[in-house]
């Protein structure tokens, strides 16, 4: 209906993913920008943030973010959609990564590996993680709320211990082992027909390995996000939302709680497994400590900062959580340059930046510093922890909530409602 975006005449119209022409056009433009982003094109380089995200240093981080998004989508299905607090999401990521390295890794004297191609190990990572999720569900479904949080927290520690019991899979101690590369082979032949981990040549373009990985991950993220969004509109999604809102009421209305909670665990673990496998093989070598409580909290933080229960919130939160490190570093770096300069403002920056012992500043730029002037990495962690608190206190809907407020302001402008 032209000019009446809130008027729906059918159920199909209301449940459309992109109901208005504006949204469809924006989606198209957004996808185009995402596809062109890694290339050094004049048009793309005019867009504010996208301008530098395409640089190869940043593109690596963008790839990490895309992998993170897949995991966060999984937690979104479990916590955002089904309302189950899980602190064990990183455990499933670890399960996925270990499955990947067992199925796709190379065997040696004290390491196991079957050397399968990626089209085997990537789905296997997801499926095995999902199966373990199903196996854990009977315990997890019995407990509610914070009890569930603590039980899933236990999973993380049990998982870390299992990685010590099976060093043949997870790799020895603190080092980890080599994960299979991101590359497509038909079977175990020598040369992969599509290699994402080496620079190459497509048609008449030179593409770097990060660009290749970017396109592969972008495709994967779009597929998985599409699946996650669509799931919210199906019978399963509605059942999960009903359980989140009031589990007993849902059960009385005929929603089998056990079955759907198990489904939620399976789906979320599937996403986590894929994400873990991709992360490990993207980084190349990962110690088992990677799958710690901190990683689980990061997933939850992404959901909370982005906005609970929204797929768009998952994207915003993941962008923030993964990128904030780099942004803080950049800002500190910039502030340091300002502090070194001359003029009135440089003393302002000098007040915050400490450039060695005896210089009274809050943030240290010396790499080795561990002590009162905070290293930039610690500053970033503090900002991240504080933001979780601030968002929960002042904007429980996260960045999505801010977006809604901004949108509604302009919708009603110049009136306040």
């Amino acid at each position: 209906m032209r000019g009446r975006p809130n008027l729906y005449t059918s159920y199909e119209a209301e449940t459309q993913l992109f109901p208005t022409t504006t949204k469809k056009v924006l989606l198209g433009v957004g996808l185009l920008v995402l596809v062109l982003m890694p290339f050094d094109l004049w048009v793309v380089d005019q867009i504010p943030v996208v301008r530098f995200l395409g640089d190869s240093i940043w593109l690596r981080l963008v790839n990490k973010m895309l992998i993170f998004i897949i995991g966060a989508l999984g937690l979104h299905l479990l916590s955002g959609l089904a309302g189950q607090l899980s602190l064990g999401h990183s455990f499933f990521g670890g399960v996925g990564a270990c499955t990947a390295v067992l199925v796709g890794g190379k065997a040696s004297t004290n390491l196991w590996g079957w050397g399968m191609p990626m089209w085997v190990w990537l789905p296997a990572a997801g499926v095995v993680a999902a199966l373990i999720g199903v196996a854990i569900a009977p315990t997890a479904v019995r407990v509610r709320g914070l009890y569930l949080g603590i039980v899933t927290l236990g999973l993380v520690f049990i998982g870390l211990h299992l990685s010590r019991v099976f060093p043949e899979i997870a790799g020895p101690g603190d080092l980890g082992r080599k994960w299979p590369r991101l590359e497509l082979r038909f079977w175990k032949e020598e040369d992969p027909f599509l290699d994402f981990s080496r620079d190459g040549h497509w048609f008449w373009f030179d593409v770097s390995k990060h660009q290749k990985t970017y396109f592969f991950l972008l495709l994967l993220v779009i597929l998985m996000a599409w699946w996650a969004v669509n799931l919210g509109r199906t019978r399963t999604g509605r059942a999960l939302a009903a359980i989140r809102d009031r589990d007993i009421a849902a059960e009385i209305m005929g929603v089998p709680e056990f079955r759907y909670k198990t489904t939620a665990f399976a789906l979320s673990s599937f996403y986590a497994g894929i994400s873990g496998a991709l992360f490990a093989s993207f980084v190349g070598q990962v110690p088992p400590e990677q799958w710690s409580l901190r990683a689980s909290v990061t997933f939850l933080a992404a959901l909370l900062i982005g906005g609970m229960g929204r797929v768009s919130g998952v994207f915003m939160g993941s962008f923030f959580v993964v990128m904030s490190h780099r942004f803080v570093e950049e800002i500190v770096d910039w502030a340091q340059h300002q502090a070194e300069g001359e003029g009135l403002f440089s003393s302002v920056f000098d007040f915050f930046i400490s450039r060695g012992s005896g210089d009274g500043g809050l943030i240290s730029v010396a790499q080795t510093a561990l002590g009162y002037p905070l290293p930039a990495s610690a500053l970033d962690e503090i900002i991240y922890g504080a933001l979780i608190v601030i968002f929960l206190l002042f904007e429980p809907l996260g960045m999505y909530g801010i977006w809604i407020k901004v949108r509604n302001y302009w919708k009603g402008w110049p009136f306040s409602y």
């Binding site: 607090l85 315990t139 019995r142 407990v143 509610r144 709320g145 914070l146 009890y147 949080g149 603590i150 039980v151 927290l153 236990g154 520690f157 049990i158 211990h161 299992l162 010590r164 019991v165 009031r246 589990d247 007993i248 009421a249 009385i252 409580l293 909290v297 939850l300 933080a301 909370l304 561990l370 002590g371 009162y372 905070l374 290293p375 610690a378 962690e381 503090i382 991240y384 922890g385 504080a386 933001l387 979780i388 608190v389 929960l392 206190l393 429980p396």
Partner: protein, 324 residues
């Protein structure tokens, strides 16, 4: 944790006695921590995941007050251990202030919000406090100067560390104190608040103050257990380290096993977990190659999972009545 997994004593009886004391002491520590979780949960219906950070802060305060500034010792004569005990009280008090601030700033605005949000807020606070404690203040070379150090005494042929006895006395005092506290006016107010927040409010109970008391006490208990967890047989010989914060997560199974809202449950759960961990570490050591190095640290979680399968709300936990 540099926790020697196996006791080497002359005969089986001595081994058992020694293991028993170790289990009881570790159980007391877990019970102490569980008590602090339970107090916070009773008042504000949330699990305080920042407890580890508070334990860390408590040990750091003690090290600062006693070792760096020599606070009570400057004005007081007398034996050192009295100074140390006073410094412990002071450190616990300082940590209690952190608890109060956290409660006032971050928890009270969230009353009425889902419990999920409160738990996440405490996780955020945990990140902030831990990073400040680890990165902003030098943690690694700090010592606690525990008066009894790693000294032991002998019962028959079994060696028992003084720290074990101290932990048991501490936990006993804490539980006795809590039991007495629940008989006082403020304690009754807290029990009423735990039972029904709105009804308590309608009776004229200052729920905000109950929150403050619970968080202050919780933080102080966290500090105490953090200090004990950094002592010689458990921690790396009385040195403040980040392990203090991780120790707390190993106490969570004790809380859940006993029931999140039961003080008796905290004691029983803590002792069960402590005994299970130590006895498994002692008597299954022959199978360590099969179970994996450090398997005793996973025992609490396994016991918790089994316990929850049988009783989803813990042994003494109140079964939540759920209404549609």
């Amino acid at each position: 944790m540099s926790l020697l997994p196996v006791v080497l004593a002359a005969n089986a009886v001595d081994t058992f006695v020694q293991t028993f004391f170790r289990g009881a002491a570790l159980g007391s520590l877990y019970a102490l921590l569980a008590l602090s979780f339970v107090l916070v949960f009773k008042a504000s219906q949330t699990v305080n995941f920042a407890e580890g950070a508070m334990a860390l802060a408590g040990t750091w305060f003690l090290s600062m007050v006693f070792v760096d500034w020599d606070i009570p010792g400057r004005w007081l004569g007398g034996p050192t251990w009295i100074h140390w005990c006073l410094a412990v009280v002071l450190a616990a008090g300082m940590t209690a202030v952190i608890g109060l601030v956290v409660e006032r700033v971050a928890i009270r605005p969230l009353i009425g919000q889902p419990h999920f949000s409160m738990a996440m807020v405490t996780l955020g606070i945990e990140v902030v406090i831990t990073i400040v404690a680890v990165d902003a203040v030098h943690l690694t070379p700090r010592v606690l100067a525990v008066p009894w150090g790693a000294d032991t005494f002998k019962i028959g042929g079994a060696f028992v560390a003084w720290s074990y006895l101290a932990a048991m006395v501490m936990a006993g005092a804490a539980f006795l104190g809590t039991w007495r506290f629940f008989k006082t006016r403020a304690g009754v107010a807290m029990r009423a608040t735990a039972f029904d927040q709105e009804a308590a409010l309608a009776q004229g109970i200052n729920v905000g103050r109950v929150f403050a008391i619970a968080w202050g006490l919780g933080a102080a208990l966290a500090a105490l257990s953090g200090i004990f967890a950094s002592m010689a047989p458990w921690g790396p010989a009385g040195v403040v380290s980040r392990d203090g914060a991780f120790f707390v997560f190993r106490a969570l199974p004790a809380v859940v096993l006993g029931g999140l809202d039961s003080v008796v449950g905290a004691l029983v759960g803590g002792l069960i977990i402590g005994f299970a961990e130590v006895f498994a570490g002692q008597y299954l050591a022959d199978h360590a190659s099969l179970l994996g190095y450090g398997y005793q640290q996973v025992v609490p979680y396994v016991v918790m999972l089994i316990g929850l399968l049988i009783r989803p709300y813990g042994i003494f936990g109140t079964k939540e009545v759920r209404r549609v």
